[in-house]
Assembly symmetry: D2
Homo-oligomer: 507 residues x 4
């Protein structure tokens, strides 16, 4: 079977005529596409073999294999119009469809314990949500509804993994500075247009997963000023377009790092890339918003994109919480502290928080809401509440884990390579064994736990959970604007209407 062939620049559309789910092997082949990926000044020729990315690539490949496993066919895929597609492209029309999406997200999230935010189902939720209300794009002069739907079908049909970059660089806030100095603006913008499409220059932040994805949506999640016409460009493009550079942040996996020492970093570092554009040509078919600052921001909220996509992020965080709870519990078993009432109390509290959070996800299905065009969406208020909960509580839960671990993680040798030296090994096994728990097993668990709370990878996650939907004020604003204030106020006002200033008692 011929692999999906992906061209460069002038050949953006996958050409296989018989759509099917990608296997892991096909996936790995498909991302060796010549993209310009940089780690500092080093150009990475093949991210599937480079030490900083190879393990991550294998994790994504395993996800593709899982998804195409016939045994999981009903869980991970659906059939429509004769095509079998990944479940995360399902447009939900019922409560049951929402459950199906939920189950598929959970399977993926559980595979990586919720430690990767940008699995293929993440942006897929956004794109599917956009497709559920394409008329939003009709306000565009060029009728981009069709482009949007074509992109949705293209990505779904070819089982692609797309991601997004929707934040301007820091320097974009200082527009006047650049104008005054006659310098180019750092924020990505359209610098030329012709019959075939637009030319882009500038930078976009921060494409998580871009080292591993096929395509990327470029857009704006933060409001633009009305005069930022050229920055409003929103399009979905392959990551190997000529002129597009991926500048990776410092990778956390590196040559020589052992799985034993960093079991999570080695597998689950999804990468984050800044995207630098130098005269990148994008054909009109890939453009969904242009010269329309208001729409550029609104598409996520006015369509079902935000609500469908963030259910995935909710589910992912729920998997992570379960993993954290499990590790916390195992650590206390290994330290022998699990039966101390105060420790049991902390675990009970942790379990309560985990269950409470996951209840909020199930509540989104029970209280699902009709959407336009006959579709159904998750309960919005519950969704934003769950995002808020995660943002507010994750650091504290990590801190509980820190408390439960004590200084344990610093009480192991610098490397498990002590096993290579017979004398050191004997000492290690004599002094580090703790009752029934063998020295190497204890070290293995503490290394895992440290990689969950203390490594660079862990710390990046702690920041990520605070910010991936936006800063705290934005998350609280989502909750504010979705609250039914009038209904709430009326209930109080009606009650206050039942008594006046004079009664000695009620009624």
């Amino acid at each position: 079977m011929p692999l999906p062939r992906r061209g460069r620049g002038d050949d953006l559309i996958l050409t296989n005529s018989s759509p099917m789910l990608m296997t892991g092997k096909e996936y790995l082949e498909s991302i060796r596409d010549g993209r310009a990926l940089y780690v500092g000044k080093e150009r990475i020729e093949d991210q599937t073999t480079h030490p900083a990315f190879a393990d991550g690539a294998r994790t994504y490949a395993a996800l593709f294999d899982m998804k195409s496993d016939p045994a999981l066919r009903d869980l991970m895929t659906f059939e429509e119009d004769g095509e079998r597609c990944s479940m995360y492209y399902l447009q939900p029309r019922s409560q049951q469809d929402l459950r199906r999406r939920n189950r598929a997200h959970r399977k993926i999230a559980d595979f990586c314990f919720g430690l990767m935010g940008r699995t293929p189902d993440a942006f897929a939720g956004n794109l599917t949500g956009l497709s559920m209300k394409p008329e939003v794009f009709d306000s565009e002069p060029v009728g981009n509804r069709n482009n949007l739907l074509a992109i949705y079908r293209h990505v779904r049909r070819n089982d692609l993994f797309a991601t997004y970059a929707i934040v301007p660089p820091q320097g974009a806030r200082n527009k006047d500075y650049y104008l005054a100095k006659g310098l180019p603006q750092p924020a990505l913008r359209v610098t030329a247009e012709d019959d075939r499409g637009v030319t882009l220059n500038g930078m976009k932040m921060l494409a998580s997963g871009a080292a591993y994805a096929h395509e990327v949506l470029i857009g704006n999640v933060m409001p633009l000023a009305p005069d930022q016409l050229k920055e409003s460009i929103t399009c979905v493009i392959p990551l190997n377009l000529p002129g597009l550079m991926l500048w990776s942040r410092e990778p956390f996996n590196r040559a020589g790092m052992r799985a034993f020492d960093r079991p999570l970093t080695t597998r689950f570092d999804e990468s984050d890339c800044m995207l630098v554009f130098k005269d990148v040509k994008v054909p009109w078919e890939k453009v969904i918003v242009h010269d329309n600052p208001g729409l550029s921001r609104d598409i996520y909220i006015k369509t079902a994109a935000h609500v469908i996509a963030n259910h995935q992020s909710n589910v992912r965080f729920g998997s992570k919480l379960r993993f954290m709870l499990a590790v916390a519990s195992l650590v206390t078993r290994f330290t022998g502290a699990r039966d101390i009432p105060a420790v049991r109390d902390m675990l009970g509290r942790f379990a309560a928080m985990e269950a409470g959070y996951n209840a909020m996800i199930d509540g989104q299905i029970e209280a699902c809401q009709p959407f336009d065009n006959g579709f159904m969406v998750f309960n919005r208020r519950y969704l934003y509440a769950a995002i808020h909960w995660a943002m507010e509580n994750h650091s504290g839960l990590i801190d509980i884990m820190r408390e439960l671990m004590g200084g344990g993680q610093f009480q192991f040798p610098a490397s498990i390579d002590v096993l290579d030296d017979p004398d050191l090994r004997t000492l290690f096994e004599t002094f580090w064994t703790a009752g029934e728990f063998a020295a190497a097993d204890r070290m293995k668990l503490f290394k895992l736990a440290w990689d969950l709370i203390g490594s660079d990878h862990a710390s990046r996650a702690t920041s990520y959970e605070k910010f991936f939907v936006g800063p705290a004020f934005a998350v609280r604003n989502y909750n504010f604007i979705n609250a039914p204030w009038d209904e709430l106020h009326v209930a109080v006002e009606q009650f206050m209407g039942t008594y006046g200033t004079t009664q000695g008692s009620v009624r």
Copy 2:
């Protein structure tokens, strides 16, 4: 129509042969039953007219009226075996039945803004839950399964309002002290038995709603020692049994208190009574546990009692949260601070917490669990998580309201009676009006808000939300014992099994 007749002592069963829902008027008649209710040394002859209780009684009567309103028939009642019963006696057999219970609870909770914990549907949940697994009582020598089912049918058929008292007095912890001194033990116990039944002496804490209820379950929510045979007595009895005294805690409503000044205290003070027994005779038919300390505690957990009853408490707290959020929002509207970003942020956070909590309730329905005997119950882990959430967060939310109110509540005259004096009224309306918000309206809202956060009634609620299910360690223990530890551990252990001590990288 003859009122349900309720006898004293030797005539415990209601005798109306055609069961029907009680109206408010019938309810008020029915609780004037001669019970021995004390406020300090004062014996209250008629709680439906005494200033400390009359307003509360009217609130309960209004609930009965609402329940028997034909317009709410489908929401508030169900029909079974030709009888129409209050919905809160429904034994749920499906997810839909759980939704029906949920909706009825919510209607009642919304009526009193969740400010009364012991509405008739509260203990009804316990009793219904007990009836869903009556075989638990078969371990009793005298086959109390039948007693339990008869009590369930009796209460449901006669539309009664029952409550419970299941905590020993403080002194019970010092058993040795009383033995050494030859003093009677304060904890309630069986002091004699004969063919007709048992004789009870001692005290039980703390029957909320007892001033207003028809019957009360006496039992033990805290574990007993194996030798506390006689304290294990569990029975459901009328509150007017000879020898039974109700000692009320200080009532918060009192003569001369205006609805304007204390709109919540005057309506929603549900009362708490200590129950003092002096040679109270209880017939065997009313006994469900006897001489069985283990069972006495276990019945709530081994049956569906705890899970069914606490869904009501979850729903009630959800209504309260909505009310708190509404009042918080209105206060900021009246102070003009609502549009300040920091205030809006606080309201957004409050709204997120309210939505998150109510999501946990809906999640209990989505993730409902099969129970024995073909019944269905709410998701237990989510239920205990919600209890834990409320216990941990209520005080903090009250504190946010305090913050939003500023010192506003202290900046009003001592009484709205200033309106009676024309000169004072003019000054009041001149100086206390704030823009579009009239002086008396502002005062009315701040008085309401104070009664929600600052009055004795409010403070009692703040303690209540912390303790009504038990102290924090008990609530955390419920969460601990219901967590699926093995399943959680296995997932981590399987992952750790995929790598050893030697690999340079994963796989």
Copy 3:
């Protein structure tokens, strides 16, 4: 000995020529001065005998007696210019003087367990602080430096108790509304001026202690707009000036309330009054700021007023913390829970917080700072830090007390009058005794604790601790503007200057 005579209106200066410390009896006489004090529509003729105020008045009288007790002469007073004065009027010139003020504040605070915020030493700190930099008032056209110093000498010489009211009414924020409607502005302002002085109309909030004090400072703690010339009036006047009305908020003490039931409310309700002015004439000698909006606000910060006065508030809160800690500990002794590790842990945490807070107060002395004119002041940053700490932590500590009390406070009869009835008394003593702790003693302690955390009086205090220095953002702003940002930044910048972009390692 003739009592200090205090006149009305045209006779504002006390006339006794031989200054001396007031006794409690003299104090009580002195406040029966005809002031127009209202509780709702009721005019209070004599606050030293009215049930709502008599107990409070006696507490203040006891403070005066303590202060004039020869045994406490060195602790509570100092001598200057041949006059013996209350210590809280001492202008500190050394670290030792600061300690002397600290000790006197603490003696007063301990007397009322920090439960009264507006003891005579509170505003005395403000006035003394103003007097330490009188040149600030020279910017006034009429040379108010002399007025200020004369007021300071007058109050100190006559041992007066003064308070303050420095917040506009809520309606003041809606100025445009009143202008548009042609209504009088509610905010206090100068409505006329002549050779003798100014005429005032409008309202000021919120004079705590005004029912008991002799005089009151009228001013503005919140910034005024430059055009609010007439609202900038700042003066110190007797509370019995003709045309001045005191509108009390709802008093918490009332007829029939027993000390047993509300031991703190009955003694320590300091009162809060709104001040309503109707054509009140104030002579120029009493005016310290006029037609100067900027200065009106600045005097507290540019002089030593804020820092000297708030050390008293720090000390007061420290006394309260000790009291709270003591009650928390006693409650656990009475419930028998004190030896449970989790409870001991909570008490240890509480003790750590109490000690930490009081350490912040002592730190203000160790790190005291020179001020202008040869004076010395407490460390400002530490002072604002302590205010911030109290504001942030008080509610949480009350919540810990709530947790330690459990539902205990609701498990006592409505009134201790059960002791009057022999039968009830026997039951009470049988069932409510808990081991070695007698029924009435237990009830007494729980009533005290409730009055500290749950009564209206307690709730008012919980709001007060959050707001008496200003809202959270203002307190944080004090901390922001006093932080040595430049010094802090330079240290980091110097460090960053020691390494560049190229080194493989440091240095």
Copy 4:
């Protein structure tokens, strides 16, 4: 000048006869003493040149240079008995002496921004504190008072840097397991004794700074059982004793790490070592506790060791807080967010917390307490309160920094080596500059901030601040046992004695 010569095994005492302060160069020479330091299986021959330790060694050397700088003579040293000694060996006899210790600690702490816990003044405080009450050691059969004083003089005279290891390995808790299996116990113990001294075998945790120190105290901070005679051994020994191995935890500094990328890790990784003993001979002169489990634990509390030593840890944390506050502020200046009210509010809060903590340290001097033998110590309650504060608040403050940084740290290239490539450099400087803040400067600050909150080094510190004095329950216990409960209780009881059960009002 001959360097202090340090022998191995049978030559434990430094032999230079003219004591003087060590320079950095001398220090570096002195620690190249043949100690058996391991990183995994690798034996580190020279920690002053090995990439994992060389930078740290230079930092310590710089501290020695600073200390011997004549310009800082009065601040950093004192003279006694004709010897000039490091200030941290001063036995304080007055409040002023406590201030001198405080200032010297602060100078050292500020040098490393409080990021190293085990600077030479840390254990010096312990040892000095032990020497202030040597009679505690008289309870030892062999009169170890003299040993202790000789050790104190030896370390002080030779200006040595000593550290400590006082925690048993995890396995020590499972004693029965080892007995049952016939395995050697992992906990360090005396396995033989003879005329010259004791022989030690087993392991001790966790000697921070041991890679860099000269000597180490071996002891027990956790209570021993009465039968743990042989584990009670307490002695102070050189780190190069034959048979003693130092097993380092994973070092955070490593070859190729740039100061630019990890400016704190590279300089301030103080190391932590597990100490493994194989037949280590310790002469009697170095033993201070033997065969005395009770004393082994008590010496820290019964002498001034704990209070003197922990003042240093307080001061160190105070320096760190200032550094954190400075970095937090600079980050917001660089992001342009510093003037947003919500950000300013967070900084104000942070500043309040920093000031409050440092106030607690100054309070320990103001409220210093006399100790035995004419000495003076810091206020104990305030000291433990400060420890508790740091333990409770550090993680939260790190989280505030995380919040202020946003995702900024992930929006920079993987390495500053992009400057080496002209094209990349141009792009970097174009797109990463933000207004007046140059690209490399921004990256430098964010790298520093990340190394303070997110790197392995940072995470280790976050655990360290939680645990270095002991787990939370132990810290709370110190606060519990030092609280003046009787005094606190009496004040409440006296108050309650002023009113009975019958008064209508107080007095």
